[in-house]
Symmetry: C2
Subunit: 280 residues, 2 copies
Amino acid sequence: MTRFALVVDYDGREFQGWQRQPHGPSVQSALERALAKVCNAPTATVCAGRTDSGVHGLGQVVHFDCEASREPRAIMLGVNTLLPISIGIRHCQTIESDFHARYSALARVYRYQLVNHPARPGGLRARDHAWERTPLNVQAMQTAASALVGEHDFSSFRALSCQARRPWRRMDRLHISQLENRITFDVQANAFLHHMVRNIVGSLLVIGRGEQPPEWLTEVLRAKDRTQAGATAQPQGLCFIGPRYPAHWGLPAEFDAAPELLEWRSSDPESAKPEREDEL
Amino acid sequence: MTRFALVVDYDGREFQGWQRQPHGPSVQSALERALAKVCNAPTATVCAGRTDSGVHGLGQVVHFDCEASREPRAIMLGVNTLLPISIGIRHCQTIESDFHARYSALARVYRYQLVNHPARPGGLRARDHAWERTPLNVQAMQTAASALVGEHDFSSFRALSCQARRPWRRMDRLHISQLENRITFDVQANAFLHHMVRNIVGSLLVIGRGEQPPEWLTEVLRAKDRTQAGATAQPQGLCFIGPRYPAHWGLPAEFDAAPELLEWRSSDPESAKPEREDEL
């Protein structure tokens, strides 16, 4: 039995999210179907961060075990042949059997992109950008966002359906940037609650539109009450840029979806401890 | 009668190219169908650069004439409502009646992107990147590409089906950059022959793979013979980033698909003359 780790990209619009679903296709079921053929046995996968319906992956990490003797490169190429073009494996390696894609991760990175313009995005950009018509005040959103950095109870940004045991998370970074009509939210935390990124972005939009002052976000955080926060932002703007692991696992530190995130590498939270199963 | 100019984005994979076709959907027919409803009359459009089947547009400029009295903003929003999400209008303005989207352009900019990796691209990246398995020598390609800058007879890179009257074009810039496994070709010329960008990229790939030295591209250019050049590169890697016009037309100088192209603005070829109809 050998454990393998994969780096996987997918177009979230084609799937009902990462996780196997009774209705509609999921990334997990498409991947496990292809792996079963290549490994010659039913194969269960675990991913670093489960994404919702419509949310993209660019650097998702997955582990699985295989009894058959297989070269990593043969798995990568074979599985890519069986998968639809909306999913691609871009890295495969063997890894120690105590590696766990979810519980070994120190942190996760998400990017949320939107077009802030009277006209909706069309063409290529419609695939991975949300749309906000009202002109947004980026400075006010950044001021508000800074209050979320650090360790907090994020109950106010947690979906009712969230199954995590504890609502505490360590937010490492929440940076908002603007390029012409496009606004990007880069978020890193040790782990995320269900809908947490989209609920935070939806609340920042309330501030960006001028409906609430920046201090309002601190009140929302303190309330620990989902009904106090803004609406969940649209899924197609969200992309899971991947997890970060301690260097000793030997996984590639890839952020090629977001090259400006490379600078983060130097501030890798190596001192942080991975979440344990009972804490998530 | 008022002339309008539009800036249009589209996902080339959904269309048989810009131009109206008897078989399959085209960007032009979808756009003209929507404009006919908004303008209440059959409406013919002219674009800055006709793109082939599968080639994307991010900043295509289009002009058309409308008898009915319409606000530019109402046209933009109305047409976007009627168009599929694979096309979007992001700018609309009135413009003098002697403006011509094609003949007023000083230059056109294309971007070609590919993933250079043993594994095919999947997910979001599969939409707008070609794939090259063999490791490419970017330095050799850049050396070869420099020989194409300037005014040349580009017959060797011209499709047999090309209807241009003359094979001479002024290549302003051909820059190749690499970020991890992704290679980008940025090309600006006064105008392009049919398949010219893809035939040049296909020939540069021959050099990048080490099958020919950089000097070979100069020989190919001099031969003025399409059979001497490399194969036409895959369409999905190509994106028309848009035309450039003299500033007096008052069109937005948008390159937001490719922010690093902003630096080119300072070297705008204002002194260059637009191509006249009889020269193209």
